[in-house]
């Protein structure tokens, strides 16, 4: 790979890894609440979490711009109070990727939390565990395969993120130009067909690897569950 390609791949990996790491605890919290709590507005929360999956990504990007842009409700505060700017910055690309990956991650984690027998939590409570301790020692470790699968899925989704990223974080070489954006940029320039093809192959290899890893984790978790019964 050329140096330019390395820069693009490294940036893509950095954006995706940070996006997944930051989104993971949020996704798990949402997954737990949706799986285990019954409250008015639960359906609405579930729908909101899934929104990035069905909205045109450019709309999600626009919403991020409205909320997190320099003049946005949250973005303005971030800049004034902490001096943080997300727009035109790789962290903005990570935010866009994280938001787009959230529904997939919540879905995988929620399924694995629902698969944890609640009666095991009850057993832990009779043995003297507080609700939080029972969560840490029973629900969390038993839903670990779903956390890993969700993270992998989210990572694969982040690698491919385009619409929300280009809308929110723009297409700046070395800063927010991830693989899909670099491919798109190459397509605009006549004579760069082979460069585009190379990037496309790299993209396919990375995505396929993440997907296979996720599939393997799911399989392993199903195997473990069959073992439990």
């Amino acid at each position: 790979m050329t140096e330019v390609e390395w820069t693009i791949v490294a940036l893509s990996l950095k954006v995706s890894i940070v996006a997944v790491l930051v989104t993971m605890p949020i996704a798990y919290g949402l997954a737990w609440v949706i799986a285990r709590r019954r409250f008015p507005g639960r359906m609405l929360l579930d729908a909101l979490v899934h929104l990035p999956l069905v909205l045109p990504p450019v709309v999600t990007g626009w919403l991020l711009l409205v909320l997190l842009g320099r003049n946005g409700a949250i973005g303005g505060w971030l800049y004034d109070a902490l001096g943080i700017t997300l727009v035109f910055h790789w962290t903005g690309a990570a935010v866009a990727a994280g938001v787009m990956a959230l529904p997939l991650m919540v879905r995988a984690m929620r399924l694995s939390i629902e698969a944890v027998d609640r009666r095991l939590v009850g057993a832990a409570r009779t043995l003297g565990a507080s609700p939080f301790r029972a969560f840490l020692s029973i629900t969390l470790p038993l839903s670990l395969p779903g956390i890993a699968a969700g993270a992998m899925l989210g990572f694969a989704r982040s690698l491919g993120e385009f619409g929300a990223t280009i809308t929110f974080a723009a297409n700046i070489a070395g800063e927010t130009r991830t693989l899909p954006l670099a491919i798109y940029t190459g397509l605009q320039v006549p004579g760069s067909e082979s460069a585009v093809a190379r990037l496309a192959v790299i993209s396919i290899v990375l995505s396929l690897g993440a997907l296979l890893a996720s599939e393997w984790l799911v399989r392993r978790s199903q195997g473990a569950r069959a073992h439990v019964l």
Partner: protein
């Protein structure tokens, strides 16, 4: 008084009321399937909340609807041996045994892990995962786990169900020993008349509403 229970419960579509006072070391709860025996154990353990009533075990009020008392399960300190053992599938037998012991107040403990392992003959199982245990083995581990959590009373849900005769006899003898050697009120749910006659000092019969 070991058990003083007066509850009114609704579980799914089934509603029932139960009232009994027992002074026996081991009280048996009998009745047809679906009458609410396990739900009663769950209510005493704090896993289900009755609609109203009062639950007192060994002089301690665990639930009192009128007074607004409803201790969470971890404060009730029930040694609950579930019918399906309900061992933690991701922890080895040794870790399952340790789970409640680590959470028990040190001065409340009355047996050591070594004693429990010896008594229940589960030494050879300590490194195994619950999924690899037979029904009888899992139940012995479950009893050990409950005893090590330093419970104030024991709830046994069909401890001998689906065990072959020799295994059942071993466990029966063990329960007798626990009854005679420990100062723990015990509540046993059972379908077996022979088992109940041999173990229980007091039998509480639950009947379907309308049959009583």
């Amino acid at each position: 008084m070991s058990f003083d229970v007066d509850i009114d419960m609704a579980v799914d579509d089934h509603a029932f009321a139960l009232k009994f006072v027992s002074d026996a070391k081991l009280t048996a709860l009998v009745g047809p399937s679906g009458v609410g025996k396990t739900s009663t154990l769950n209510a005493i353990a704090g896993l289900l909340r009755p609609r109203k009533g009062r639950i007192t075990v060994a002089g301690r009020v665990l639930f009192d609807h009128a007074a607004g008392v409803n201790l969470p399960p971890e404060q009730r300190r029930a040694g609950y041996v579930f019918q399906d053992a309900r061992l933690f599938p991701h922890k080895r037998v040794a870790a399952n045994l340790d789970y409640g012991e680590k959470l028990a107040p040190p001065d409340a403990r009355f047996v050591t892990k070594a004693e429990v392992v010896n008594l229940l003959e589960i030494e050879h199982l300590l490194d195994r995962l619950p999924a690899t245990l037979s029904g009888g083995e899992a139940r012995r581990v479950a009893i050990g786990r409950a005893l090590l959590s330093a419970p104030r009373f024991l709830l046994l849900d069909e401890p001998l169900a689906s065990l072959d005769e020799s295994r059942a006899e071993t466990l029966l003898t063990l329960i007798e020993r626990l009854r005679d050697e420990l100062d723990l009120p015990m509540l046993l749910v059972s379908h077996s008349t022979a088992e109940v006659e041999r173990l229980a000092g007091r039998v509480v019969t639950m009947t379907q509403p309308g049959q009583a």
